[in-house]
Symmetry: none
Subunit: 199 residues, 2 copies
């Protein structure tokens, strides 16, 4: 199930992204560590923990969690901000009776899976926010030419971004090629040696 070794060897983790994205987003790391560290804590009542199967976690006491736990890991003490982040990363509340949150790739003992969780994208639509929110004003103040120009600019920007991503993909492909070739030649040598030894 775990391809980490292959990914590590071939350098394919998080394709097309910048270096800082090779590790999980701070939010996920902190939430995971918070759960590991809370297991060691000696509170009179449990504040937050993995559920019994370890495939989700439960905030047993939102009040204490907000006041005591959150500010130790984040720049706030608002339960709702924490939940907003959970939703951003695709967690779901799986119980109506308690604050239990689940994500397929967020499980006890599986820190390596965190890298597979990503923020939900807000669709990069053709129309940027500033055109959507004030389209009436724009219609008043912008000539259709200017409007056109804005669309062109937007498309242009997206194309350049796309170009960069494609270029990075190519670089990765080439690197993989090199590694495969190196591995191929090495493994042939090995086999040659084995055969020689056997003769």
């Amino acid at each position: 199930m775990c391809d980490d070794a292959l990914e590590l060897n071939l350098g394919l983790g998080n394709k097309g992204q910048s270096p800082r994205h090779r590790c999980p987003p701070p939010f996920l790391l902190k939430t995971y560590e918070l759960l590991e560290e809370e297991e060691k804590e000696k509170h009179s009542t449990k504040i937050v923990s993995w559920n019994s199967q370890g495939n989700a976690f439960v905030v047993w006491s939102p009040a204490e969690f907000s006041d005591l736990t959150l500010p130790r890991y984040f720049k706030h003490n608002n339960f709702s901000s924490f939940i907003r982040q959970l939703n951003t990363y695709g967690f779901r509340k799986i119980s109506s009776k308690r604050w239990e949150f689940k994500h397929e790739k967020f499980q006890r003992g599986c820190r390596h899976m965190l890298i597979e969780i990503s923020r939900k994208k807000c669709e990069p639509s053709v129309f940027p926010a500033y055109l959507k929110s004030s389209s009436e004003e724009n219609a008043m103040t912008c000539s259709s030419e200017e409007n056109n120009q804005q669309l062109l600019m937007e498309e242009n920007k997206n194309l350049k971004k796309e170009r960069l991503e494609l270029q990075m993909q190519i670089a990765e492909c080439k690197a993989l090629e090199m590694k495969l070739l190196a591995y191929l030649s090495q493994s042939m040598d090995n086999h040659q040696n084995k055969i020689r030894r056997l003769c």
Copy 2:
């Protein structure tokens, strides 16, 4: 100069936006208040203050400002984050010798003007820096507008062509990858067989 009353009465402040925008953004309010409150402080050395004319402010001691002042108003103690915000709101550093920042609408005793300061949009107003005319009046002549559009369309066309080429390169890369992998697995089988035959 101050339209606050009118805006309030007609509910026209920050058109098309939600109520919370009728007051200045928190960053501006906090920075303004910070300056008012620092005036009362009794530090051995001045940390931050309005300049003598009151039309800009000076951070006299960035180190103390970061360690002592920032965390009292913001969720961090990084001078660079503070400066990033200043830039976002259009402040300029107006001295090369000291940390002095200025915005036309940010002046001592003029809290009511803060409402007129807004974040720079991340969207280029219309044109990128290298295409922008130097005049702030941006009284673009028809011909230069058309010219611009021509350039944009040209660039756009080229980018799309480039994209196609890159995509083809990637396809080739992937095909080669497949061949290498197939060859690798085949050659390993062959060698295994040779070894078996030799044993």
